[in-house]
């Protein structure tokens, strides 16, 4: 992702935070599209910065949206920590293989996309496990929490995946026109 794309993401996050109270889709659905920022942070960025950026993104979201202070920051920090842990393991296997044919390239791209989606799904899941646990502080409404978890994870993962595809296609289009 280019710095311009990241700036666009930050603006979208701020807009989402500002409209969080107004855009109440459902009691069970909590939009958390700013996870895209954690996923799209540069891979070579110092892990400490990744944690701090995630923490402050969540905290700013808490403050702007009027949520309980710390709930998004705790969930975002946990998601970031998990990203740091799984990212090398998921993508290291691709590095040591030399691409021989075009078919193999296409196949590897598909594998990469699948792994990337799996990564998004996992990170979003970690985010919502922490978020729902801190929101309820218990398992008194476990079936509803499970429903909420499933809805939030599937919807947010899909939106984030589509947003990444959109931004990637736009940046490719920008590069080709230049």
């Amino acid at each position: 992702m280019t710095p311009g794309t990241r700036r666009a993401i930050i603006v979208l996050i701020i807009i989402q935070a500002l409209l969080n109270d107004i855009l109440s889709f459902s009691f069970y659905f909590q939009p958390a599209f700013y996870i895209i920022l954690i996923i799209s942070l540069p891979k070579r960025l110092n892990p400490a910065y990744v944690l701090l950026i995630s923490f402050f993104t969540g905290l700013i979201f808490d403050i702007i949206s009027g949520a309980v202070w710390g709930i998004h920051s705790a969930a975002a920090t946990a998601a970031a920590m998990f990203t740091l842990m799984i990212r090398p393991k998921m993508f290291d296997s691709n590095r040591n293989h030399h691409v021989k044919t075009e078919d193999e390239t296409t196949y590897r791209q598909q594998i990469f996309k699948a792994k990337f989606f799996l990564q998004i799904l996992t990170i979003v899941s970690i985010f919502f496990i922490v978020f729902i646990l801190l929101d309820n502080f218990g398992f008194n409404h476990f079936p509803f929490d499970l429903y909420r978890f499933a809805l939030c994870v599937s919807a947010n993962s899909l939106v984030i995946w589509l947003m990444i595809l959109l931004f990637n296609s736009r940046s490719k289009h920008g590069n080709t026109t230049k």
Binding site: A48, L52, W69, G70, S73
Partner: protein, 275 residues
Amino acid sequence: MAGRNNLINNLFIALLFIALEVISIFGIYKTGIIQEYAISKGVREVKSFFWEGRSNILNYFKLAKENQDLVEENSNLQDIAYKYWSLLEDLAIDSLKAIAVADFEFIPAAIVKNSPNRQHNYLVLNKGEKSGVARDMGVVTEKGVIGVVISVSSNYSLVLSFLNEDQSFGALIKSSNIFSPISWDGESAESAVMREIPLHIPVSKGDTIVTSGYSAIFPPDIPIGTIESSKIVNGVSQEAKVRLFENFRAIKHVYIVKNRNAEEIDELFNNGVLM
């Protein structure tokens, strides 16, 4: 060296992660009402766990002293209990004294052995010759006649229980003052039979039966039981079933009745004056 740096770096990241999470949870605790309640509850439970553990450990070391205190307290309570028991015994004796004439004396005794389930029942009491007990003394409680002493050793005495088919003594129907012999019916420890009641005497259910006092063994007016039912026997007399006041299965303490004039009465019998 690189591995060591990597380890330090990972440790730093882990500590940073923990610190950020703690800050977040602190923020949640400060601003979330439900979360504040839940965290406070959790903290209280953890604190209580440690307080309880500390308290248990301290109590363990105090056990010896507490045990000693309890022993002392128990000893004091036993002293008080004995005083009350002796007072109660005096009261019971007083109530019997009120019934009995001045010729009788009561010796309190405890039952060492009791057999209420046989056809010929006996009791062993913990008072004997040393306490002034002698053969042919009556044994009573506030609620009835228990038996007669048939054998005495220096510290114990053997009593022929009222629950014995061979045992019989005179009793009065209190309402009519009619004298008749009463004995155990041999069926149950709770009932007896009063025989040879004249036909013209009205016998009603609930009438109280008391000792007659016509012998040197039992004082008069000790309650025995109440009439439960009656029937005519052979068309010449009545027979009444008596429900006993005393529960022979639960009895623990009795009074041995000593007639102060027993020797004089015996002497009269032996000389044939009363024959």
